[in-house]
Structure formats: structure tokens, C-alpha cells
Subunit: 331 residues, 4 copies
């Protein structure tokens, strides 16, 4: 039984708490949050202890592994502290606010003599059963070389403007998941070009894009196209298409039921998509935790790891540069 401590009792911390509770080989023992009421609420639900101090989690003798759900600017400190304490960590995305901070994390890890700790980055979509099945099929050569990858990824509705203001921008906040997915499928990226859009007039004053189209290519010239929007009337729109010379693989949206409706106006009309990520990626979060537990038990550095977090950030920055300067960025 792996005893888990969680740092951060917000929305995503609670997702992980529930996954831990449901996992046959994991148990939540401690949860830290500056808002003690929030920490207590989660702790009570799962028979764990609560604290306001993240440092308690690193120090606790009742914690074997840590899930870091703190605000992004603290990810580095918490990864370094977990490594210092010799405790494996699963850290939420993004790794850091920018590439420089990501590099700083690695420097600090080197300096303290833990250059290669057991740290997993929370790119949950890699564990989505449909995306994972397509990834496996591609790896096995089912469609030949992956020549064109098409990702459509749209949120149901924009977050509050206050969130957008501190989010680091759409590329690091939202597209980051897609950048990791592209890397997962296409490997190292050589060129990035991005178009930024201001679709929603209500968000015009945020200074951030709320729609993007990004095209990336790898060394072989194979491409990936990402289309993002902060809004989608039908729910959380999450699709992927992998195309190669022998065929294509598609991951479709998920609905709450399989019901289809026909009447005088429409036929085979389905439900809106699952909305939002907690529902849509429920299985992914659970399988992500399993992969982390497996890595902890095996004592192996898991994938995706710190490097994947850093590389996704690098793509986000390249895309931002491309969109702002209207240039193609070569990496």
C-alpha cells in the first residue's frame, strides 16, 4: 500500500484524492492546503490528516509519495523538496510558468544531488483509453508512418478573466496538453507556426488569445495541427485523428449516454459532449495514477516526466512567438 500525500485541495487535488481512494494499492494519508477548511474537507472524506503546510507532506513519515497540485509557480519548489525528501512525485501540468523556470528546476535538482528523481508530469490525456489505444496502434505500425495528426481541443466555456490573467496565456494553459500529445505522437518538433484568434468579444480585453491554430512538423516533415477554442456550445470537444499511408485512427467525443434521438427535424441526434475535464478524463486520471503507482513500486522514472514538461513549455513559447510575430519558428 502506497501512502499518498497531496499538496493542494482545489479542484484537481480533489480529483486525485478520489482516484487515490479508489485505487486498491494507494491510500490518502495527508493533504495540505493553506485554506485549512478545504484540506480538512478532503481529509475527512477519505480518512486522512490535514495541514496548512506543504513542508509537512515532505517530512511526514506517513507519506510514501506525493501528488503536487499547488499553483504552477510553486511546482518547482515542491518537486525539488520531494526529491530532497526522496519521495516520488506526480506533479500537475504545466511544469513551470516558462522554460527558464523549468531549466531552473533541473539546475536545482542537479545541485542537490538528485538529478533524476521519480517525478511524473500530469499530462493526463496520454492515459485516456482512446488516445492511448490510438498511440499503441500507431506504435505498432497499424497505419504506417504517422504523417498527419489532427487535434481538435475546445473547452466548453472560458475560465474567469481573473484566471486567464494569471494563466500564463492560452498556449501554456490550454494548448500545453496538445503540445504534449503532439510530442507523444511525433517526437521532437522542428518547426512551429501558430495563429492566435480573439473570438469572444467578452475576452477581448484579457490580452490573451481565446482560439489558436498551431501547425507543427517533426524532422521527417510529418505534421500535427492543433485547433483550440475557449468555448464550444456542445461541451468539451476533444478529438484526435492520426493519418498514415495504411489508414487512419479517430478518437471521438464522449457523451453521458448512448442515446440517439430521431424526430421530424433531426435523426440520430446524440447528447452534448461530457463537460468538463473531470468527467471527460475521469478514466485518464485514474489510469495516470495507476501508472504513477507502478513507477513508484518499480522505483523507475516514469513517463511523461520533467523533460516532457519542459519540452511542452518550449513548444508553447515557440507558438506564442509565432502567433505574436507572425513568423514560422524553427526549433
Amino acid at each position: 500500500m502506497i501512502r499518498i500525500g497531496i499538496i493542494g485541495a482545489g479542484r484537481i487535488g480533489r480529483v486525485h484524492a478520489r482516484s487515490v481512494a479508489a485505487h486498491p494499492q494507494a491510500k490518502l494519508t495527508l493533504i495540505a492546503d493553506p485554506m485549512i477548511e478545504s484540506a480538512k474537507e478532503v481529509a475527512d472524506a477519505y480518512g486522512a490528516k490535514a495541514t496548512t503546510e506543504a513542508s509537512d507532506v515532505f517530512a511526514s513519515e506517513e507519506v510514501d509519495a506525493i501528488i503536487i497540485c499547488s499553483p504552477t509557480p510553486l511546482h518547482g519548489d515542491h518537486i525539488v523538496a520531494a526529491a530532497a525528501a526522496g519521495k516520488p512525485a506526480l506533479c500537475e501540468k504545466p511544469l513551470a510558468m516558462d522554460s527558464e523556470s523549468a531549466a531552473e528546476i533541473r539546475r536545482r535538482l542537479e545541485e542537490q544531488g538528485t538529478p533524476n528523481p521519480i517525478v511524473m508530469l500530469g499530462f493526463n490525456r496520454r492515459f485516456d483509453p482512446s488516445f492511448a489505444a490510438i498511440h499503441k496502434a500507431v506504435e505498432e505500425g497499424e497505419i504506417g508512418e504517422l504523417e498527419q495528426l489532427t487535434i481538435i481541443s475546445r473547452d466548453p466555456a472560458a475560465p474567469p478573466k481573473e484566471y486567464i490573467a494569471v494563466s500564463g496565456g492560452i498556449f501554456k494553459d490550454m494548448t500545453i496538453h496538445d503540445f504534449d500529445m503532439v510530442r507523444n505522437f511525433l517526437g521532437d518538433i522542428k518547426s512551429v507556426v501558430a495563429v492566435g484568434q480573439n473570438l469572444d468579444p467578452e475576452l477581448a480585453d484579457t490580452g490573451d488569445f481565446d482560439g489558436v491554430v498551431v501547425t507543427l512538423t517533426n524532422e521527417k516533415g510529418y505534421s500535427a495541427t492543433i485547433t483550440n477554442s475557449r468555448h464550444c456550445a456542445s461541451g468539451y470537444d476533444q478529438r484526435l485523428e492520426a493519418f498514415g499511408p495504411k489508414g487512419a485512427l479517430f478518437a471521438e467525443n464522449i457523451r453521458p449516454t448512448t442515446v440517439r434521438r430521431s424526430n421530424g427535424e433531426v435523426t440520430d441526434a446524440q447528447d452534448p459532449y461530457l463537460d468538463f475535464f473531470l468527467e471527460r478524463y475521469e478514466a485518464a486520471y485514474s489510469l495516470e495514477l495507476s501508472a504513477f503507482i507502478d513507477a513508484v513500486q518499480a522505483g523507475e522514472v516514469p513517463t511523461p516526466g520533467i523533460n516532457d514538461g519542459a519540452e511542452a513549455l518550449r513548444l508553447a513559447e515557440a507558438a506564442e512567438e509565432s502567433a505574436k510575430n507572425k513568423t514560422v519558428v524553427t526549433l
Copy 2:
């Protein structure tokens, strides 16, 4: 070039006239209808002659083969006359108003020394590309033995009550197509049980059912289920499912476009079904004509033929008996 004469310039006669015009090896030369205006209209459109007399079609030296689209009670006379004239005929369904009349047709053909003329019965659905592809796959063993056949067949809206009054009843008028399809897939039928429904209050006084569910079994015990309704809000509902130990095959409805609509209420909503049989079975009518032309050119008795017309009637009568007496009818 096969020169075609058509008897009957009504709705179905015009479908065949158009198919003939489009067929590279056929040409409409003569069309007969008691309403000469109607005959002329079709004749003018395709460069043919018009007449009020069916007898002209049998006698004409400019007619090599005949398509019989006359009212059902006249099918027998016209088949016999075509055979006497030595002209192949494609006769619309149903063969006759009842099994006795069907038997009478065969007696008359025997008596005049043409026991086995080139006569094709217009069970157009056998030629529908999707149904035909499934039939071929079943024959080739793709799903193993065909154990359970499920046919859903619903008209978009009921015909006028005057039509229903002379239609011979839903089993002979509407289900007849499905009975032929069942025979096409399952061969000889051993047992029939039917439930008749009165769904539409407006049709309650017609004395006819407007919905039926029929279950048929063949000698091996394999089953077919037919569900009919005289109405369907989404259009002409025509589906078929063939199930066997190795798999299943499904024919879906056809829409005018491939468009799918998503919004806040529904996702991937499609168009209503093609409505009605002229549109839905356009390809089937055309392929049926091709099969008839092929049979004419080869001088061979085509399938489906007179016997298929008679057997479908026999099933219709068994179903009617079953529904009215609430019994299982063994053939």
C-alpha cells in the same frame, strides 16, 4: 437496344420510364394508360408513343419487352398477354390480389402453353445496394448461418384512405416487400405469427391494421422479425439487420446529405431519412431494370419471378390469418 413498352403511366410507371431512359441498352417506345394525357406526358418526355390500350403494347412491333405497372387486379391478364405475345415482362408487386388469383395466373400460363415465361416480379428492394451487399455477404458465409433477421420498415405517412380501401390490406400492400426479403434471406418459411396494430386513430375506421409485427421461422428454426408502421416522423425508415454466429450486418437509413449538426442541445444530429420510395430506392429501381434487361438479353427466367410473387402472397395471407385469429400459422 431493348425497346420497352410500359403499361401504366402512374407514379411507378414514371419511375420505370426514367430508369429506361437512363439505361444505355434500353429505350422507351410506347406507354399505355387509360388516361391518355398522362401517357402522353411520359411519352413526350422520352420520345415514345402513347396509347390508351394495353393491348397495343403487347401487339406493337416496336416493343421488345414490357413493364407492367397496371393496377394489381390486372397484373394477371397482362402477364398472360405478354407471355402469349412472347414478350418478357417486368411486373410490379404484388403479383395478384390473393394466392388464388396467383394460382389462376399460373394455370392460364400453362393452358396457353407458356408455363415458364420470362417474367420478373418488381421486388425492387432485392436490388438495393446495401441490402444486396448484405445478402451477398450472408451467402458467402461472412456471419455464418443467418440465425436472426430483423427488418424495420416504416412508411413516412399513410396513403389516402381510398387507397387503403382497395390495397388488399397492409400485409399484401406494404409487408409484401418484407416477406419477399425474408424469403430472399431465409428461404422457405415454416411458421408465421403476426400482431396487427391500430396505431393512428385517424385510420381506425379503415378496417386495416396500420402497424404490424411479424415473426417467421424457416425449417432450421432461424427467425425473421418484421416491424411495419404506416407512419414515421423521420421519413421512410428502412433498416435491416442480419445476425449470425460470426457477426452481424446492418443496413442503415439513407439521408439526402451527410451533414451532422451539433449545438447546445444535440450533437451529430443528422438529416431526416430520404422520403419516399422513389428517392430511397432510386438506385434499386435502376439496378432492378438492369437485371431485367440482362435476363431479356440472356433469354433466361429472372429472379425474383412469378413463384416469388406467389410465395410472398402466401406469407401475407398467413400473417393476416395469424393476426386476425391470434394464432401461430404453420405452413
Copy 3:
């Protein structure tokens, strides 16, 4: 917190144990099974106690409500004992081996002065999110009157012959779920006609059918058609179509992923269906438990109840009589 005792630690008992563990307001405290190892295994997994005696469950002060997963012939005894102990019970289907035994259960409940206990029958499919959504839409009039209900229900593979021998026959063992679904949608049934099939040569000597087609009608003449098979190459085939004058509603099969595959042979090919009921109806079992917990907390007799269990049995017996005697059975 409702403390739950479970009788029977077999496959279905374990499903319920897991649902109980995951339910925020329920807790497993005791599990009984003559095979104590099996009971202990479940008890250990969820922090409960184990016993060989069902009587311990009725007597226990640590049990507020009972889930009866014993063999069908014992359901009556266990329902009566639970009622005597004043403990609500969720009893697995079927209620009893036959209608007579079902009536006997009611007599005994009357005699001991508990004519109307809080007993829920485990017709889990009523709680399937897709079937439930369709039921709700039908109740709300979305398609007008429900005129034709079509249920396709096929198991992936037949159970062992030993199971079939004591199963009570396919109508009571397998179709029973569909009979309850038909009653749920159409209310009281007036007429039943069933065709029994022997599809799998390997099962020919069991003396039981392994395929059935049943047509039922209610007082208004609206129909339901059930098609069952003990085998299905693509997995657990569970579909339902509700048709009325204003439209139709369809529940489709569920796959493990949303992946679609295209290549030179096929396009948009999907995964086989979820296989088997534990996976396919995972959500249904969980929602069923919630409904039971709600009823327990409210102190109300839940639906489906003992009467529903008895009525489903009556339909099973009518269908068996119809299939064996080749008659239409009027109720």
C-alpha cells in the same frame, strides 16, 4: 451511513460489494457465504466481517439493510427473513424459480404481518443511464405514445451447461430482464407470443432454447419485440429502440473506447462491445444501489419491487408456454 450486509459472495455479490464500497452513504459490514473463503476474501477487501450463515446477516445489529445474492431458490426465504427482521432488502433477479413460488413469498409475507416490506428487485437495467434517459423521454411525451418497442439483447457467450441446467430456462434466466424492461415501458401485458430457437449445436442437448423472439402487446395494442441469443461474436449486444408518432429513441451498444479505424478494407470501424454485464452495466448497478439507499433512507417501498419480480416471471412462463405449444398466450 447505511450499514449493508450481503448474502452471497459470488460474482454478483462482489459487484454489489464494490458498489457499496464506492457509495458515499453506504458501508459493507457483513457478508455471508457457505464458502467461507469466498466471503472472507470480499470482507477483507472492504473491511467487513464474514460468516457462513445467512441468518447472521438478518440478526446482526451492524446491518441496516441487506443485499440478497443467494441462489434463486433461496430468494423467498431470505426476503421473508429480512422482512421479519425489519431490514430493507435488495434482492437479485429473478424473484423466484416460478410464479407459484413468487405467490408463496407474498403469502408468507402476509402471514408474518409484513405484507409490504421495503424490498427492491435487482432489475439493474432500469437504471442504465441510456435506458433510463429514454424511459424519461417517453414518459415526458417526447415521441408521443410508445407504439413499438424493439429490444435486442444478446449475451457474448453461453454459460456452462451446468448453469443452464439449473437456470430455470432462458425465459426466466435471460429474457427476464427484457420482460421487466417491456413492463417498465408498456405497463401491463395482454398477449405474448414467443418463438424458441436452438441455434448453437453444442447446446442442443440442454433441452433449453438458446435464442428467442418474443412479441408482447399491451391493452392499447402497442407492441414490444425482444430478440435474444446466448451468443454474439461482437460482445454483449444490448440495444433498445422506442418508436412513437413523434419520433424514435435509440440506445446503442457501449465500447471500451471511442476509437474508429479506417484502412483499405473498412472505415470508421469501432471496438467490440463491452463484455460482459459487469462492465456494460457498471453504472446501472451503481445507480441501482443509490436508488435502494434512497428508498431505505426514505422508508419507502422502492421500484422495481416484489410485484415487478412476480409479473416478469408470469411473462416468462407465458412466453415459455407460447414457444413450446406454438400458440399466442393471452393474459
Copy 4:
């Protein structure tokens, strides 16, 4: 009855000849091709005359309107000659080999005093029933502003290298259709960025791309993404997705039947896509001709016209420049 002359008896010329024959208000009277055998073959099939000289078509008193299916470098001469003869023309795409030649056509038309002749450009996809239905829905505001347009357009197999060598490059030869579609939906384009790919090793020495991804934006910042490939294992892959704040509209691929296959490996597997453009766009060619006939009868300049042909070429050149220089091109 409009009497039609066709210049060019190749593949596309024959498509139009058939459409003309089937059109109730049009009739083929003359067809010109330097290979007289080819011209005669078409002429004989439809009761027309044949000639080797295009000039005969412009001069003929039996020709009311002309369909230009000559090689692209001759389009300009033939458009100018048709205008000089006062005969409306439907000219195949692309308008010319490059923008300069397109401008030259306009200069010549001005000089000869026919600045605005009745000339339609053969962008047949605008008339595809599904694309047209989506265009209409977008125009009617069904999804709000069209924010993101996604076009997937893949040929089943590359043309011969000899064809590629004289094709003018993939952007002008293949993507030209998609550029017109983008303009049709988004209006004037302000920025273009394209990625060119060399996917098929066999085509590496052609000096042309065989895959492209193009992103275009209009003045409002709304985007269109085009993904092309010269090969697709499943057939002619032609899809379109229009996304806006109120919803999305999808045009799916077309198959020869509606058959779905399920077995132990896959479920609901469909047929490969219709292959190739003659089949896929059969309805579009026919509706395009109808629109042309309507314009001829009304004496109005049709859409899409010469300007649309020129603008599509401009986008093709911008995309080529972008792909070759790895820059974003602003128009």
C-alpha cells in the same frame, strides 16, 4: 433547350457530357478534341457532332453555351474566344496556370470589349449537397460567426508523375478546390501560412509536395485549416467542419452503401469512401451544370466566376511562397 458544345473529350469532359445528357433543359450538340476518336466516341453516345477544332465550337450556330475542358494553359484563349462569340462558358478549374495569366485573361476580355462575360468557374464542390447545406446554414447564422473552418481533403492515390510534372504544383492542382471553399465560407483572406510535406518516397523526385497543411485567416481573424494528402488508403477523403459559437456543422465522407459490419474484431465497420471524384461529386457536377444553365437562361454572370478563379490562384501562390520560404504571407 440550351445547346451545349464541349471543348475537350477527356475524363472531365465526359463527366459534363453525361450531366448535359441527363439535364432536362440541355443538349450536347458538338464536342471538340484534337484526338478525333475520343471526340467521336462521346459525340456518338449522346447524338452530337465531333470536331478536332475548338474554333468550330465558338463558331457553331448549333451551340448556345460552351463547357471548357481543355488543358489549363488554353483556358484563357477559350474563355476569351467564347466571350468574343457571345457564348456563355463554364470553364474547368484552375482558371489559369498562375495569377499573371489570370490577369492577362481579364486584360484581354477588357480589350475586346467583353469585360464581364457569362463565365462560370468549375469549382464543383460549392455545389456538393452537403457542403452547400452547411454553407447555407452558416449564412443563415445557425452556428453564429464561422470562427474555425477545418477541411480535410485527401485523394485516394497520386496521379502519374507525368501529370504532376505539368500540374502547376499541388497548391494549384489540388488545394485550389479547398482555397475556393475557404473563400466561399470566409470571404477575403488576409494571411496564409502553409507547410509542405513529402510523404510518399516514390514522389520524392517530382519536386512537388504531396501533402500540405495550410492555415488561412480573414480580416476578422477567423481561421480555416486545410489538410491535403495525395494518398488515402480508405478512398477519397473529403470532409469539412464549420465551427462557431452556437454550434458546429460537419460534412462526412460518402460510402457506396450504408452497410455496417460487426464481428469478433470490429463493430459497425463501414465501407471505404467513394473513390474518386466522378463518383464522390456526381451530384455536385450535376447541380453545377444546373446552376450554369440557370445563369445562361437568366443572362446573368454566375458564381463562382473569373474573379473566384483568380483569387483561388492568388491563395495557391501565397501558400506556395509560404511553404517554400517558411514564412507567413500577408495578402
